[in-house]
Amino acid sequence: MAFPQGIDFRSTSAYVTDPTDHTYEISTTANYPRTSAQGNTVGWETITGTLNGRDRSTSVDARIAGLIFNSSTTGNMTYRIDLPSSGSYLIKGAAHDAITGVKDTKLEVSDTTTLLVTAWDQASMVFLEPVDITNVKMAASSWPSGQGSRTLTWSTTIARFKLTQPTSGGTQNFPFISNIYIESAGETFIPRVLFMGGANT
């Protein structure tokens, strides 16, 4: 397994070119286990309802060029990323629809079945500009370097990203997602001592 791993959700694989550490997800059916080009096991694990992919804009960063949404107003879907080991991981993400902005969606990030954090849990939110994992909306041009992150700790090796209806309901209950990114946050820096006691060996 090689982290980081980014997943860019859209309809057509060749619509844009993904960054090296990212892969596209165009499947609208359960496809776990899928081995990404980066060597990680990922995929849609469970789907209630019907998924649809959309290519939205080549004018924005490739990672948020499209989306996958659930056209069932009672639907939900869960994307799974297998982790190399338990520990701390930094996650980023975006919900963005450059054309049809108003949607209702909620992201639940879980450690197997234990909920770690939620995002985008707001009814009738306008996503014409991307909303990052910390619920901050920003210009699409600002998102690549300006997006926030969350560092979470997994006690298992299963990361689940469930898209579902917002808690308070809404008018366009089509859960959707544009991007997920995850990298290890557990690396420690060990300084090397080159010279000790004046002896250079």
Binding site: T20, P33, A37, Q38, G39, G43
Partner: protein
């Protein structure tokens, strides 16, 4: 286990092995695209090695069933429902495993090495047909 529970093992086996074939071909093409796009050799080599490890992990999931008598019996019973057998699963899994092992062992120091490694998959692994585009 019930017939439905046994059949779940069959569905997952099909999903694992048939998706694996598709992933191996798709990823080989993706790695060649990375090469054409100028991604560093070492980085692509790392991706290929990590992919090979994951392919073997998925094959090992199947082997673990075969190594456990009760699970082996349950999978066999499930396969019988569709007129298939453990031997047929093995006939799919074994060549995939061998190609994954060859991929892991292949040299990956130069662009030619990367191309040759990807071709191990592209010339020997057949992507399964699909009702929808993948």
């Amino acid at each position: 286990m019930s017939a439905l529970q046994n059949f779940r093992l069959v569905i997952q086996t099909i999903q694992n092995l048939e998706n694996l074939r598709t992933d191996m071909v798709n990823n080989a093409n993706e790695h060649l695209t990375m090469l054409a796009n100028g991604v560093e050799i070492d980085k692509i080599a790392g991706f290929i090695n990590d992919c090979a490890t994951e392919y073997l992990k998925r094959i090992q999931w199947q082997q673990s069933i075969l190594d456990t008598p009760l699970r082996r019996s349950n999978l066999s019973a499930g396969l019988a429902i569709i007129g298939s057998s453990l031997a047929e699963v093995g006939a799919v899994a074994t060549p995939i495993r061998n190609r994954a092992l060859e991929l892991a062992a292949a040299p990956k120091k130069t662009a030619e090495d990367i191309t040759a490694a990807c071709n191990i998959i592209l010339t020997n692994v057949e992507k399964s047909d699909s009702v929808w585009p993948e």
